[in-house]
């Protein structure tokens, strides 16, 4: 058996997924394994050596001698020489380049080492790191400085083994910094409400009051240079204002929502006040690329997308974590609607959302073939097959109105957005908030399959899922004909969202991640009393109604 298969076999004993992935990963084409002067293989990447070219075994031994005591988080696998003497220790290893790891596994017998350490090719794969010391392979730290920094920061953020992480304050002070406008603004309010329900003392900056002033800039026809001369001092002012509020309020945590008007220097100044500063990036990173400039400045960067973004954040040195969107039960809830309201906000099949190019293309085609749909939301074409289907003049609906739509439609279609008109059904890698808001309203949802959906709701049981345009039409017809099935799925989705996917859950997770776990004597913060009371009051209502 060759080295690769022996090594993969050893790895597969306790990390079968990684072993399978590495088996299908091509070895790095930039690196080569060459015999060292003393014989054992040595590793070179491009024009630089990653291990000693003379005696990598002795070098590995020497490096291991210098390793800190106790459990370790190693950065860089190399050819494993610096890890083998430590194989008896509690050791996790982050190899930032899977191709290099694959090459290493082909180069020598590492089976003994691999059976005793935990490996990851991304920071997230390493799992809990509390109590570990940083053990970098220097050539790797020079090659991937931001990732090495990210690991070091993660280790600093998590308590050492001999330290007991202090519980977070019983009533932590949290300053919420919302954007001036846009979809993140209500999320900021809901986060603030959830944090207050969880026992935090919350102060939310009313930055939305600046929105009319900002509109003067947004809708101006003057050139960018001229507008920048207004925008820059405005951003600077709002940063100072936030800092002033932080100095007065002395928050334990500053929670900044996507598009909040804070510069990197303002974020750094906030951190200097002693507050933990966290950012929740509830955007599609492929279209909102500003995150690259700010991610590394925050203590914690939360996002709603998966592995690809995680890899990029690691390269930026950001201390990041996945935190999906949620529903807010005080807003997203079953309603008793009057017949008139049902007429105004209901439909057999309804869609609520912006007219993104992919939606316009797909819905236009389906409508032309006879698919019946009613649409709410902005940015839909004024002409063409969709124009007569747009309700309320295509205006922006308030959150309360949106909830009425989710309550009144028999089938709520959810098609994830893309600015690319050619993007088809089920092409996105994030779960939009509607996915959880519709079930929270007791509505029946037909959503396109996107990556990560299964982690939140069980397709077919808690949500109906389509993967092709034709399937959307077929499933809509099917479920309209089977109201009992709609009710069953809607009720299961409703239970799941309330049990796991509210802003209470998200904020509890965020607090634990940023400030540590709640004190033991506190009641579990999963479902705050006020929310439970509200749900009890609504208990008589059976979610999953038809239109």
């Amino acid at each position: 058996m060759d080295h690769l298969h022996r090594n993969l076999l050893a790895l597969a004993q306790h990390q079968p997924e990684l072993a399978a992935r590495l088996e299908n990963t091509p070895p790095s084409s930039r690196a080569e394994v060459l015999p060292s002067r003393t014989g054992p293989p040595a590793l070179r990447l491009g024009r630089r050596w990653l291990t000693s070219s003379v005696d990598p075994v002795a070098e590995g031994r020497r490096l291991a001698q210098q390793a800190p005591e106790g459990p370790l988080a190693a950065f860089g696998f190399g050819l494993g020489y610096h890890l083998e003497p430590l194989a008896g220790r509690d050791l996790v290893v982050w190899e930032p380049e899977a191709g290099l790891l694959r090459l290493a596994l082909s180069s020598r017998d590492l089976s003994r080492l691999l059976s005793r350490v935990r490996l990851g090719v991304s920071l997230e794969e390493l799992g809990e790191l509390g109590g570990r010391s940083f053990y970098p392979l220097r050539p790797y730290a020079r090659l991937y400085p931001a990732r090495a920094e990210a690991l070091a920061r993660r280790l600093e953020a998590e308590p050492r083994g001999d330290e007991v992480r202090p519980p977070r304050p019983a009533s932590p002070r949290v300053l919420v910094v919302p954007p001036l406008l846009g979809g993140s603004l209500p999320v900021a309010w809901w986060c603030a409400e959830a944090l207050a329900e969880l026992g935090c003392r919350v102060r939310s900056l009313p930055l939305e009051k600046m929105s009319p002033l900002y509109d003067l800039i947004r809708f101006s026809r003057l050139g960018e240079d001229r507008l920048d001369r207004v925008r820059a001092p405005m951003i600077s002012f709002l940063g100072e204002l936030t800092l002033m509020a932080a100095e007065e309020f002395a928050p334990h945590l500053v929670l900044v929502l996507a598009q909040a008007p804070l510069s990197v220097s303002a974020v750094r100044a906030l951190r200097r006040t002693g507050a933990v500063v966290a950012f929740w990036f509830i955007e599609n990173y492929r279209h909102m690329t500003y995150f690259r400039e700010v991610a590394g400045a925050y203590d914690h960067f939360f996002h709603i997308q998966g592995q690809e973004l995680a890899a990029e954040l690691e390269s930026l040195g950001a201390n990041h974590a996945f935190l999906p969107l949620a529903a807010h039960p005080p807003v997203h809830r079953p309603l008793e609607l009057s017949p008139r309201e049902r007429l105004r906000w209901g439909a057999q099949v309804g869609f609520m959302g912006c007219g993104y190019p992919n939606r316009v293309r797909i819905f236009s085609r389906l409508v032309e073939r006879g698919f019946r749909l009613r649409i709410w939301g902005t940015s839909w074409p004024r002409q063409g097959p969709l124009a007569p289907l747009v309700a309320e003049g295509g205006r922006r609906l308030s959150s309360r109105e949106v909830v009425k739509v989710y309550n009144a439609c028999a089938v709520v279609v959810n098609l994830h957005s893309s600015p690319e008109p050619t993007d088809g059904v089920a092409s996105q890698d994030f779960v939009n908030p509607r996915t959880l808001e519709v079930p929270a309203c007791g509505g029946f949802q037909l959503v396109d399959r996107v990556r990560g959906l299964e982690d939140l709701l069980r397709p077919g049981r808690e949500v109906a899922v389509f993967t092709r345009e034709e399937e959307l039409v077929e499933m809509a017809r099917h479920y309209l004909a089977h109201p009992d099935q709609r009710r069953r799925i809607a009720a299961a989705g409703y239970r799941r969202v309330l049990a796991e996917h509210t802003y209470y859950h998200r904020m509890e997770r965020l607090l634990t991640h940023t400030l540590g776990p709640a004190a033991e004597d506190r009641p579990p913060a999963e479902a705050p009393a006020a929310a439970l009371e509200l749900l009890a009051a609504l208990g008589a209502q059976a979610p999953g109604r038809g239109a």
Partner: protein, 203 residues
């Protein structure tokens, strides 16, 4: 400015706007190739760069009294050959330390130590070259384990080239390898060669 050379007044006016230029003029005019400076005192106190700064930065106007002690260049060369181990030992230890720093630490810290070590090595080579000239030594005729001192000098020069190349490529692991395995091996060979060179000088 009053000037004393080996305890005797030096009457000629020396040119130069700072201490370095004055000493250069003095060595060119009064010392020749036969003697070299052993000690310099400025205004009654031994000149130390750490205290007064580089000789170029000491203005002529600040020097009221300059005293120099000289030593015959041959004597100095023999002294160097007799005590070469005192220079080579610390250089070798520093080389090992620097190699380890390049493997374990960030290159900024390692580079600082590396530059200091490189300066010491260059000084050693400079004094070795002066000694060879003053004593009229034939490095091709002195050898150890079949390699002559002349060849060893060439190897050292080639190694310095390799170090510079690794440095340019920012290949710090290769730099550590050259330092730890190649340069130190050559310096160890010089430790064995220098006594043989001294024997040749005394013959």
């Amino acid at each position: 400015m009053e000037v004393m050379v080996d305890g005797k007044p030096y009457a000629e006016e020396l040119a130069g706007g700072n201490l370095q230029e004055v000493l250069n003029d003095l060595m060119g005019r009064a010392l020749g190739d036969e003697h070299t400076l052993a000690e310099v005192r400025v205004n009654g106190r031994p000149y130390q760069e750490a205290e007064l700064g580089p000789a170029e930065s000491v203005p002529r106007e600040a020097i009221q009294r300059l005293e120099v002690e000289t030593i015959p260049a041959r004597e100095l060369a023999l002294h160097f050959l007799s005590h070469a181990d005192d220079y080579l030992g610390p250089i070798m230890a520093a080389v090992s330390k620097v190699a380890e720093l390049f493997r374990l630490s960030d290159e900024v810290e390692a580079s600082e130590a590396y530059l200091g070590t490189l300066e010491s090595l260059q000084l050693f080579l400079q004094v070795l070259g002066s000694s060879r000239q003053v004593l009229g030594l034939d490095f091709a005729a002195v050898s150890h384990e079949g390699v002559s001192a002349a060849e060893r000098l060439e190897r050292l020069s080639a190694l310095v080239g390799d170090l510079l190349s690794a440095q340019e490529q920012e290949d710090w692991v290769l730099l550590a390898d050259i330092l730890q395995y190649d340069l130190n091996q050559e310096l160890a060979a010089w430790q064995r060669l220098v006594p043989l060179i001294r024997e040749q000088a005394l013959c």
